[in-house]
Amino acid sequence: MTRNARSDQLHQAVRRFAAGERAHSFSELALQITAFQREHSPGFARLCASRTRPIESVDDIPGVPCDAFRLARVTLHPEAEDRLRFYTSGTTSGARGMHAMRVTETYHELALHFGRAALLSNERAHHVVALAPLLDEPPTSSLGHMMAMFMVDFERRGPFDVRTPERWLINDQGVDREGLERAGARARERGETLLVLATSFALVGLLDALEGRELLLPASSVVMQTGGFKGKTREIEPAELRASVARTFGIAPAQIVSEYGMTELTSQLYEATVPGSALQAELPGEPGVYREPPWLRVVPVDPATLEPVASGEVGIARIVDLGNIDSAVAIQTQDRVRRVDGGLVLLGRAAGAPPRGCSLAIEEFMTAPGVRQLLTQGGSDLR
């Protein structure tokens, strides 16, 4: 069987799994994708060969470090077959990684499936706006692309052009407050639920611009926030941000839901707090506790040995994402996580080895003038 034929087979199997068919277990699919990638990715084959234990379970699958995405092409197919290319922002490391996709349908289905479960609070149509810059063409931001997908899907009126300033409410002057108010008014008039998709730094920028004033949205509105601050604004503790946003918009804190995603992943995690959402109905979640979709599993591992830590212990997240069929089924992040009842708690990024004396720390190297310029490529990204 050719590489692409096998890939297509796996894509179909994963999409069926996401749709609820369980012909294969998560572990079986993960190990099948691992074997496929090992056969067609020399880099992944070398990584697997470096492990002394045979790969017999999900816990054994080595994670491809996120750094690999900025140093090499982490795909099994040639560039000519790319249908989407997403670039990392690189704001913390100075360099930019690229995640290319050959098959977009799986990405779309998985993102929409779990996005609907986490964000849609009722059966009504939603009006969706993004506190993000206008999406570029072709999209280079995985987050922007996902936001655009949600706009089309959640409004339930068929395909339409989402690239209008009314939808993307960040411009050169910052957040378009009047645009957000107009979106709220429109949702009220039409009896729709307003969904605001936002980065954390956009929300902080808005709060700062409002200087304590309210910007009341319809009471049923839902806000999805994602991403860190990346030095773009002051940082605010998640609980404080949630409370401030809820107060400013006049909505319940539970209607502010955090998403965790990465350019290097196909799938996303969400808090299960939105009242009326499928995710919340399944098992009500606490703020700060992220729920994995059935086709993604986070394995907290020891930062030095990369072995799984005991349940409840803090480790760095190795993420096994069945959607990453043509790239890397397991990603090794530096994000600290702890498994708790009902999901995972994110504890922030593990700090690199701090500078000791005059030896150059890796973070310093990556952000040094000249080095950063040399390594930075590609378009804009919000993640």
Binding site: F44, A72, A304, G352, P354, G357, C358, I362
Partner: protein, 351 residues
């Protein structure tokens, strides 16, 4: 500078030199005591401490080097020294520069590694002062060593009129130009392994990258041989203790390198090989990334502000080109990266 002034400054250095000489002698109680204290504070293995003292503590500087150090050092009312951790021998050179500048020298050691300054002072009582905090005034000079973050903090807190000589973060590179015979390569790689192993690579002179002007296959061959040399050296001079964040950085680096190229184990460290242009700065702890490069000068130029030392083996023309392109780095022979001439600060970035 008059002869008498030169002699006065030279005389101020002598007690420090004598203290370093006595400390370097492992057969004396003082030498043994120093090794025990430095092992405990530096994280290096006892053999690593002994190796660092034997190879890098400048107890045999030539008169020419010392004269150059004195003549290139500006005078000051009071000379202040802020020391960094890790490369404990650096205290000796730093204090010598300060003594060449002023009869009044105040030293604030690193909180993580206060031992070396105290050991030097014990052998040269009164030559300088150790102070818990520095408080320079107008007309004074401050020589500060450490991370760029520390340098930034120092720069914004200095009162007006204080001259700052900031020596921030950096790293070293090694360059091999063209193919060499096995007989010629082995001593080069042995020497490079020693440059890497000194201070477990925590210093700003430590090589972290090896650029090879040659075919990718030659770079892989060199990496394999270098790993063997590092393995041999590990037997003789074991790596010391690394911190949990350092071990985590190494795990990430190793796996990234597995994905992007070749990885060879060299003792407890790794020699990795990447594709031309794919820079990967290895973490400290005896790791080095090897890259083929058809134009080493162009490859290094973007990193110029960070480069402190460049070991070179190859033709004289390229050596000169590297000297011109990297004025802040000491271009030297393999095995000499960690012991630059005792003629001033270890690197030339502020020269």
């Amino acid at each position: 500078m008059s002869d008498s002034e030169f002699e006065a400054r030279r005389a101020r250095l002598e007690p420090l030199f004598e203290s370093a000489r006595s400390l370097a002698d492992p057969s004396t109680e003082r030498g043994r005591h120093a090794r025990a204290r430095l092992s405990a504070s530096s994280g290096l293995s006892p053999q690593g401490v002994d190796f660092a003292i034997a190879r890098c503590l400048e107890i045999a500087a030539s008169d020419l080097e010392i004269a150059a150090l004195i003549r290139s050092t500006p005078t000051s009312e009071v000379a202040h020294v802020l020391l960094s951790a890790n490369v404990f021998v650096a205290a000796h050179r730093a204090i010598a520069i300060a003594l060449a500048s002023s009869a009044q020298v105040r030293v604030r050691p690193s909180r993580r590694e206060p031992e070396m300054a105290e050991l030097l002072l014990a052998g040269a009582p009164g030559a300088f002062q150790i102070v818990p905090e520095l408080s320079p005034r107008a007309g004074d000079r401050l020589w500060a060593y450490g991370s760029d973050e520390t340098m930034d903090e120092v720069a914004v807190t200095l009162p007006p009129g204080v001259a700052l000589h900031a020596h921030g973060s950096g790293f070293g590179v090694a360059v091999i130009d063209g193919p060499h015979s096995d007989a010629a390569l082995t001593p080069l790689l042995t020497a490079l392994a020693e440059d890497i192993a000194l201070f477990d690579q925590r210093g700003c002179l430590s090589p972290r990258l090896l650029l090879v002007n040659g075919e990718p296959g030659f770079a892989i061959e060199l990496a394999r041989e270098l790993a063997l040399e590092l393995g041999k050296l590990e037997q003789r001079i074991p790596r010391g203790q690394l911190t949990a964040p350092e071990l985590s950085e190494i795990a990430k680096y190793r796996d990234t390198a597995h994905f992007t190229g070749e990885v060879f184990e060299g003792g407890l460290g790794f020699v990795t090989v990447g594709q031309a242009g794919a820079w990967l700065l290895p973490p400290t702890g005896r790791n080095i990334h090897v890259l083929p490069s058809a134009n080493v000068v162009a490859s290094l130029l973007p990193y110029r502000p960070l480069l402190t030392s460049c070991a070179f083996e190859g033709n004289a023309e390229l050596r000169q080109a590297l000297r011109r392109a990297l004025p802040g780095a000491r271009v030297c022979r393999f095995g000499e990266m960690q012991r630059p001439p005792f003629d001033g600060p270890v690197d030339l970035r502020n020269a």
